[in-house]
Symmetry: C2
Subunit: 366 residues, 2 copies
């Protein structure tokens, strides 16, 4: 075991492997290509854990991340972010080295790409099925047709199909709503596919979100899933009803540095530069940044929701503690915190330790 | 100039120097020791810019940051975070190498420190003047006395005085309120000093926040100021009335990747992993993550508040654009964004470029 003296991100390899295996099996059962999103862990070492389950194709969220993983023997990568035409040199280098998938959602980028790409690349059209972030709305068939035309004009480009990220499942208020939103997204994509199937009989559909990929069982017409967060899960997913606490593979360990009994608060070293500032709403209506696990008589115990990470500044975290638990926190203790959003926490921490004390590196953003 | 193709943090050295000079002059005029907080920039190179204004003593927010700056010839460092007793080995190493200042706010840490510190160190007692994050409340004189007793028992420790971070000025609703909160904090600290002045005639007072350090003019009885954010300022400070837009020294440059006219939105590469998720409330009552500067006919222009960074996911940023400005955004453009919280943005970006294209490194957190 590594000696922990400051905020440290611990990853449980066993839980990760279980999460990966479960998703890989599900993909296989539904005849889906499993192209996991690696933006959650951003780590070559953790990436290797996917290979034993047959994973060969991956998703990333930036050109830099594609370069990082291409350097680690990943030869089939989709960059699930609208093509940034300013990065054309890097895109060309990648396309010459690996099987590269790109996303377009407008004629400007599609036209530019068709003209400037120098090696073969697959192109997906990003469809907005209700997340309202990026993508063409399904009813804009004229625009979709224009974009396809641009893609077809590029002799190195292959129009691959329609891709969506149904991020709207993250704001669902129940698992039923996740099912409904997933079903709605599928309907939109399948009807689109139908409308273009005469021209393009081999058109594919790729979907992405962890909530639907975890919970839903209807994937008819889908060719590929690209979930990412499932490898770690987090408090947000647990709160959504997508995973159990036992499925969460990352925890922050933080030292207690102060106690303030007058307001039932404990101060830890662990702040916005460690956790990020994503929060969920606690049962008391307040912002919550993490759930708390402490040791009592040598046994680990997760405290109830009235004990939670309630405030973050740059380096400080404030834990609201129920009065009857206050005695169990001591200056110098290490406590565990389940983070709200594992992707952003991992991104900030920049590295992991396993339970066995092995250091696991991540991509450096330079 | 460096060729920008992806989210890039630009620092304007001239503005920084002006900000540092102004604060250094103010400190000199009021006979205050100027011990700037380096957690905002976290950079040896930017640290050097302070030296020409006579800065020799600095503040940091973690032991790791102290180690980083100690490695860059900073020999007088206060770690403005309650002592984490688990880091005693690192603290001892630092204390043997530089003039080290430490903060305590409870008997546990003070007692531990007294027993285990092996080289001389200064100790400040952290006082909570109304921020309710860390520190002993001024009326708890019995506890303060207990902590002093512990400190005095440590033969290597020197009790230095009372230190506060009046973070409550950040939540003020007017500059008047900043003045009031600063004055209130001063009153508390001075009365505390008075009560202990028989025992400790050389007791010092150290205060820290950028809003009061920038705006206020009453520093009677104060020995030291430790502002940090002022070197860059940001949208939060401008919004508080603490600085002007012209005083903000950092900007993010981000590429436009998509436009959605149906909802007057522009999508940039630039998300939570670049900006952090700190926000302020815009005039429309919505969360705002940054103000927008674009080029019109070759001239830079800051758009009004109806054009703003309105949403962030991991890599995406969504800009709400007023209808009459929409035509000025094009796929492939680079736009500038004034970040809400420069400290967290810099921490995430990990490096800067100057306007002249020089790369400026930062501390790596490993």
């Amino acid at each position: 075991m590594v000696k922990i003296i400051r905020p440290t991100l611990i990853v449980d390899k066993e839980i990760c492997l279980r999460n990966i295996e479960r998703m890989a099996k599900k993909a296989a059962e539904h005849n889906l290509r499993f192209r996991p999103h690696f933006k959650t862990h951003q780590s070559l070492k953790i990436g290797e854990w996917f290979r034993q389950f047959g994973v060969e194709a991956i998703t990333v969220s930036s050109v830099q991340m594609a370069e990082y993983f291409a350097g680690g023997r990943w030869n089939d990568i989709t960059i699930a972010f609208p093509v940034n035409i300013l990065e054309i040199e890097n895109i060309n280098r990648l396309a010459s080295e690996i099987k590269l998938g790109l996303l377009v959602e407008n004629t400007e980028a599609a036209g530019f790409l068709a003209k400037h790409i120098k090696s073969p690349a697959d192109v997906w059209i990003k469809i907005d099925t209700g997340n309202y972030r990026t993508g063409i709305e399904p009813h804009e068939e004229f625009l979709i047709e224009e974009v396809i035309k641009q893609v077809k004009a590029g002799k190195n480009l292959t129009f691959k199909g329609f891709l969506t990220h149904s991020g709207q499942t993250y704001s669902a208020h129940s698992t039923d709503e996740i099912f409904n939103r997933h079903f709605d997204a599928l309907l939109k994509l399948k009807s689109l596919k139908q409308n273009f199937s005469n021209q393009f009989p081999d058109i594919e559909i790729s979907i992405g979100d962890t909530p639907a990929a975890t919970l839903c069982t209807n994937f008819k017409g889908v060719n590929e899933i690209r979930p990412g967060n499932f490898v770690f899960y987090d408090l947000m997913q647990q709160n959504l009803g997508v995973c159990r606490f036992e499925d969460i593979a990352v925890k922050m360990v933080c030292p207690v540095v102060a106690k303030h009994i007058s307001r039932n608060e404990v101060v830890i070293h662990g702040g916005a530069v460690h956790f990020s500032k994503d929060s969920i709403t606690n049962i008391d209506g307040k912002e919550m940044f993490g759930r708390i696990i402490i040791s009592k008589n040598g046994e680990k115990q997760m405290l109830d929701q009235m004990n939670y990470l309630s405030k973050l500044s740059q380096e400080h975290g404030i834990i609201k503690v129920a009065h009857n638990q206050f005695q169990y926190f001591n200056v110098g203790d290490l406590i565990e915190i389940i983070p709200v959003h594992s992707c952003l926490t991992a991104n900030l921490m920049g590295h992991y330790y396993t339970n066995e004390g092995d250091l696991i590196g991540m991509m450096t953003k330079f």
